[in-house]
């Protein structure tokens, strides 16, 4: 950006920033948050699982955030959310740290950056639970915050066909089902997005996850967990266990439904 950036028409600058941020958001991997009977499960593609570089991060005991976009920008935004949650806890109390507040905070953060020479390159998803309700928020690069209750996704660039499939199935089959169903649906969606983005095979991805749990990060915000901290990453071994109940017929049905084989 040049020093003469202020001479550029506001609409053109906005458009340029949007293109820049959207490009990075689409380059980022697909992540999904789903409501299940005890809370929310967040499923994210992470090629570096096991290296201590998590994508799904704990903002507070009952709030998670995952980003899709430039890793550095996502890390900065996540740190901002964690620090501001800490400020709320010190200023008021832990009960006053809410997912909605965290999302609004990130929205303000993104808005400020959007007006700066270098906007936030990506999109964030904030998920949080309280005693009875699940809440999810998509926070875009320009600071717009979109709430939803039991389903939200970010990242990747799904075809209309892929998006429609996910939209249809999430409504009809999976919402507020047991955890294993929610995880399987999340892995299924991720496999489709992965295949479309990297021209790979959704079947190979799905099988690889079921077999090894690699390249995937699963975190739950679960009301039934005792104690204050409801944020719990699911280990690879538990992931395999959760996915294990699928019969071969059910697996065949999943594979048969893939858009591109």
């Amino acid at each position: 950006m040049s020093d003469l950036d202020f001479l550029v028409d506001i609409d053109r600058r906005r458009e340029r920033h949007e293109n820049y941020a959207r490009k990075h958001a689409e380059l980022g991997k697909y992540s999904i948050a789903l409501g299940y009977e005890q809370g929310i499960v967040v499923v994210a593609h992470n090629a570096r699982t096991g290296e201590g570089i998590e994508k799904v991060r704990e903002v507070h005991h009952h709030i998670a955030v995952v980003g899709s976009g430039r890793p550095h920008d996502m890390e900065e935004a996540t740190e901002h959310a964690i620090l501001e949650a800490g400020v709320t806890e010190v200023q008021f109390s832990a009960q006053d740290v809410l997912a909605a507040e965290a999302a609004r905070n990130l929205g303000r953060y993104a808005t400020v950056l959007f007006a700066s020479p270098e906007p936030m390159g990506g999109i964030l998803l904030v998920a949080g639970i309280d005693d009875s309700k699940n809440m999810m928020y998509r926070v875009t690069y320009d600071g717009e915050v979109t709430p939803s209750e039991n389903f939200a996704s970010i990242g990747g660039k799904l075809s209309d066909e892929g998006s429609n499939w996910i939209e249809d199935h999430r409504r009809s089959e999976y919402t507020l089902r047991p955890l294993s169903d929610a995880i399987l649906f999340g892995v299924d969606c991720l496999s489709r997005a992965y295949a479309e983005q990297d021209h790979g095979s959704p079947k190979a991805m799905f099988k690889s996850v079921l077999k090894s749990g690699e390249h995937i990060e699963v975190v739950v915000l679960d009301r039934s967990i005792k104690g204050a901290n409801k944020f719990a990453p699911i280990s690879n071994s538990r992931l395999r266990h959760e996915c294990a109940p699928m019969t071969s017929d059910e697996l065949k049905a999943v594979f048969a439904s893939y858009v591109r084989e």
């Binding site: 991060r57 704990e58 740190e79 964690i82 800490g86 400020v87 010190v90 200023q91």
Partner: protein, 236 residues
């Protein structure tokens, strides 16, 4: 990676205790007094009386002067209560934030260093009479204590540590009777004896007559608060 304490110092300084630029009249603010730490064979414990004093006056009993920081560490504090409570809250939240940002807990030495910086930053307020002088206890392959002075210098102790107006009197007992390989119950008994001695010599330290002292034990399994009945039994 930003440190939470630095972040609030820069962005939210109103959350930090601050000096008023002139000394607070002695005895005009509630103070927490004697707290001690004792290392025992399998861990470390923190104990504190439950009294809050304002000059020569006892203003409140049943005060908690120990705060759990995370699963394996806690602090006991002496000083101006308003400052102590706020600082303890900031320390607990900052350790949580470190864990969230780094996916690991800070080492005990790291916690001591971080606490030193906070106490040093509080020095102008401490000189105005708003002091915060904690004892940090944690389990790191064994029980370890850190004591601090008002300017933030940390001293690692592998036997016992104390803070507050009755600390010297408590230390006199601890110095005489502490020995390596103490069992937990013996260590609790020793801590109670030290607090009793402090209460006898220092009017700002509460004894056992109003409230049973607060005792936290920290070992490999984590931090646990001892029940009043258990403490009462060990005091006899």
């Amino acid at each position: 990676m930003q440190d939470f304490f630095q972040y609030i110092s820069a962005e939210h300084p109103e959350l930090l205790p601050c000096g008023v630029g002139r000394g607070v009249e002695e005895g005009s603010l509630p103070h927490g007094t004697t707290v001690i730490g004792v290392v025992y064979e399998r861990g470390v414990l923190l104990a504190g009386d439950r009294q809050i004093s304002m000059g020569g006056k006892k203003v409140r009993y049943r005060a908690d002067k120990i705060e759990q920081i995370d699963s394996h560490s806690a602090i006991a504090y002496a000083g101006t209560m308003a400052t102590c409570v706020q600082m303890a809250k900031i320390i607990r939240v900052s350790q949580e934030i470190f864990r969230k940002m780094n996916s690991r807990r800070l080492s005990l030495a790291g916690k001591a260093s971080s606490l030193s910086q906070m106490i040093r930053k509080n020095l102008p307020a401490a000189l105005d009479g708003l002091a915060f002088v904690p004892v940090l206890a944690g389990y790191d392959d064994g029980g370890v204590l850190y004591s601090f002075d008002i300017a933030g210098h940390a001293t690692r102790c592998t036997d016992y540590a104390q803070s507050g107006s009755g600390g010297g009197d408590a230390a006199a007992v601890l110095k005489q009777q502490w020995r390596p390989q103490l069992g937990r119950d013996d260590a609790v008994g020793l801590a109670l004896k030290a607090l009793k001695n402090a209460a006898e010599e220092d009017s700002a330290t509460g004894g056992m007559s109003h409230d049973i002292p607060l005792v936290y034990a920290i070992d490999a399994s984590g931090v646990s608060r001892l029940e009043d009945e258990v403490i009462r039994g060990l005091a006899e």
